[in-house]
């Protein structure tokens, strides 16, 4: 145990004495979350909006004016019928269409409720959701004004439709997505590089002829990165919470345990790569192409899985980040408990155990 602790200490020396390592470990996660947060999430400005008004009464005109007067929107005028909505979206000029049902004012005054439909082009999910919530807020404030004057409270139901991306993938997804990406990269790349570095510099031989067991060597190498990856996960969560106002709905404990599981999996992958790679550079490339791209593309992070060709969809089943992303989203955004994510967790556990067995076997057989 003492020799193991000495080993871990040595590993921390390596990390803290190498500026590049520090930069990769702590710089990249922060930069990445900021980029995904600020750059990818478009600022709302000059959003083109059109109206389909079946009612043309006082109330609908007031709401229309109110929306147009907001600094975010540019009015593209009125549409005639529903067919024009799709056409307008497809031309790509319009971001949002607001539809008033017929006899809007009459219904509102008589029954106290009326319907507005907000249709938005959700192919850019972040913009779309902000746009919709902004429009809804304007409508709500109009209703509040009405209710202040009126003795009889009225209600306008807003009915939202996201065109092209009904389930609105991508909203708030960048935080869970970035966590997945960063944990995957940091854990796998850093371990595979640090193990191949020992091989390259010849220090691995010394470790192997020492009384340390191969498993001790592996866990000694892996432990520091596990700690750092956890710190990274916490940093991203805090950034998400304080900078982007992303709430954590579910249990923090469950989230931590699941994160721990995923980090373990990523570390096992890193060890596996290190047994394949002959040099640090190769390890880096394998990790990049073997992990970065699949995580970005096939995990549901950026591209919705249901829009992929069937073969690719089946292929994503093998991608660990895909399952972890489901878990993260469920816990963070939907507040789901363990009973909702046990299947995904089980899959990750099986993957982790398999990877560890394979990588330790491979590591040992390399000694021969």
């Amino acid at each position: 145990m003492k020799s193991f602790l000495g080993f871990v200490k040595k590993e921390f020396y390596h990390i803290f004495r190498d500026k590049r390592t520090i930069l990769i470990l702590f710089g990249i996660p922060i930069v990445q979350i900021m980029i995904f947060g600020y750059v990818v999430t478009n600022e709302l400005k000059d959003m083109h909006i059109a109206f389909l008004d079946y009612s043309h009464d006082e109330v609908t005109h007031q709401i229309t004016d109110k929306i147009i007067s907001s600094e975010f929107y540019i009015s593209d005028g009125l549409l005639e019928n529903t067919d024009e909505i799709d056409a307008a979206f497809k031309r790509g000029k319009i971001h949002e269409v607001v539809v008033f049902e017929s006899n809007f004012q009459e219904k509102l005054m008589k029954t106290g409720t009326a319907e507005i439909q907000i249709i938005s082009d959700a192919s850019d999910a972040n913009t779309s959701s902000q746009l919709v919530s902004h429009t809804s807020a304007i409508i709500l404030s109009y209703v509040n004004e009405l209710n202040n004057d009126n003795s009889l409270p009225v209600k306008i139901n807003t009915n939202t439709r996201m065109f092209y991306n009904e389930s609105l993938k991508g909203v708030y997804l960048f935080v869970p997505g970035t966590i997945v990406l960063i944990l995957m990269l940091i854990s796998a790349i850093m371990t595979s590089i640090s193990i191949t570095r020992e091989k390259e510099e010849g220090t691995m031989e010394t470790l192997l002829v020492s009384p340390l067991r191969p498993t001790q060597i592996i866990f000694g190498k892996v432990m520091p990165y596990m700690v750092l990856a956890l710190i990274n996960a916490i940093t991203i969560l805090l950034l998400g919470y304080f900078v982007f106002g992303l709430p954590l709905q579910g249990s923090l404990l469950l989230l931590s345990l699941e994160t721990f599981l995923f980090i373990t999996l990523a570390l096992a992958l890193g060890i596996l790569f290190s047994t394949i790679a002959s040099s640090q550079l190769v390890a880096m490339f394998i990790s990049m192409f073997g992990l970065l791209l699949p995580t970005l593309i096939l995990s549901d992070f950026i591209f919705p899985i249901e829009n992929m060709p069937k073969i690719l969809q089946y292929f994503t089943l093998l991608i660990p980040p895909r399952w972890f992303l489901v878990i993260l989203k469920s816990i963070m955004l939907k507040g789901a408990g363990f009973s909702y994510v046990w299947k995904e967790t089980l899959i990750l556990v099986i993957m982790t155990i398999t990877l560890f067995i394979v990588s330790i076997r491979k590591f040992k057989s390399r000694l021969e």
Partner: protein, 254 residues
């Protein structure tokens, strides 16, 4: 087993698939001797060395190192041997003293014990004052000496040196051999592989391996006398050439 022999190898075979890396090796290394293990690249030296260090198991044959069986007691073997490779195996980004503490640590030595040995060792080498410098800043010769001393930190009974003088200038090499002699004086057995045939002359006994077979094993003087040449270099060339010719003949016979 002879009490004087610290390594015993009997009928050692090591096979990788259909390739035989070691063919029927038989030799003994005596306690306190400097044993040179020579051979061209790919002759099978590294394979044997790995087996002796407990990193790999023989396909068949009897091998004991420091009195322990390589099939059963690799753990005990590892505690009783030291190892130093051409690459010196020091962590470049760690200081001299940190390296020592780390190596002592993986052999399970206590901190106080390590510091006592470290002081003794570094004062002996004359580098106690720069113990806080990182290895990367040290000249090659010092790294080599430090690596050798480190390999002896846990007081092993045998020390394996895998081409320890590669890339070092002749003066430093000579100094390094002085260290090896000094270590052998204290009773440590030295098992050394080398490419430099002049270094082979420094050994008490040498074995020469060609294509996985030990073709000669004796003191340098005896070998030179036997082959009627003046240097070990010539002995080596004669043996290597003879072996290659036999293989060629065998192939043409087929």
């Amino acid at each position: 087993m002879n009490n004087d022999s610290i390594i015993t190898v009997k009928h050692l075979y090591k096979q990788f698939g259909s390739f035989t890396a070691n063919k029927d090796l038989n030799f003994e290394v005596k306690r306190g001797e400097i044993f040179g293990f020579l051979g061209a690249n790919g002759a099978g030296k590294t394979t044997t060395m790995k087996i002796l260090c407990g990193l790999s198991k023989p396909t068949s044959g009897e091998v004991t190192v420091a009195g322990f069986d390589v099939y059963q007691d690799t753990e005990k073997i590892k505690r009783n041997i030291g190892y130093m490779s051409q690459k010196f195996s020091l962590y470049e980004d760690l200081s001299v003293i940190e390296n020592i503490v780390f190596y002592g640590g993986i052999y399970g030595l206590g901190y106080k014990e390590i510091m006592r040995s470290a002081k003794e060792m570094l004062t002996g080498l004359g580098i106690w004052d720069i113990r806080k410098k990182v290895i990367a800043d040290l000249p090659l010769g010092w790294k080599q000496k430090l690596a050798f001393s480190l390999a002896m930190l846990h007081k092993p009974s045998i020390i394996f040196l895998d081409e320890p003088t590669g890339g070092v200038d002749p003066v430093t090499r000579r100094q390094f051999w002085d260290m090896i002699y000094a270590a052998a004086e204290t009773g440590i057995t030295i098992f050394v592989t080398t490419h430099y045939m002049d270094e082979a002359e420094y050994c008490d006994r040498v074995s020469i391996m060609v294509d996985g077979v030990i073709v000669a094993l004796d003191s340098p003087q005896q070998l030179k006398a036997q082959y009627q040449v003046k240097t070990m270099d010539e002995v080596f060339l004669k043996l290597a050439r003879a072996k290659t010719e036999t293989t060629n003949q065998n192939q043409s016979a087929l």
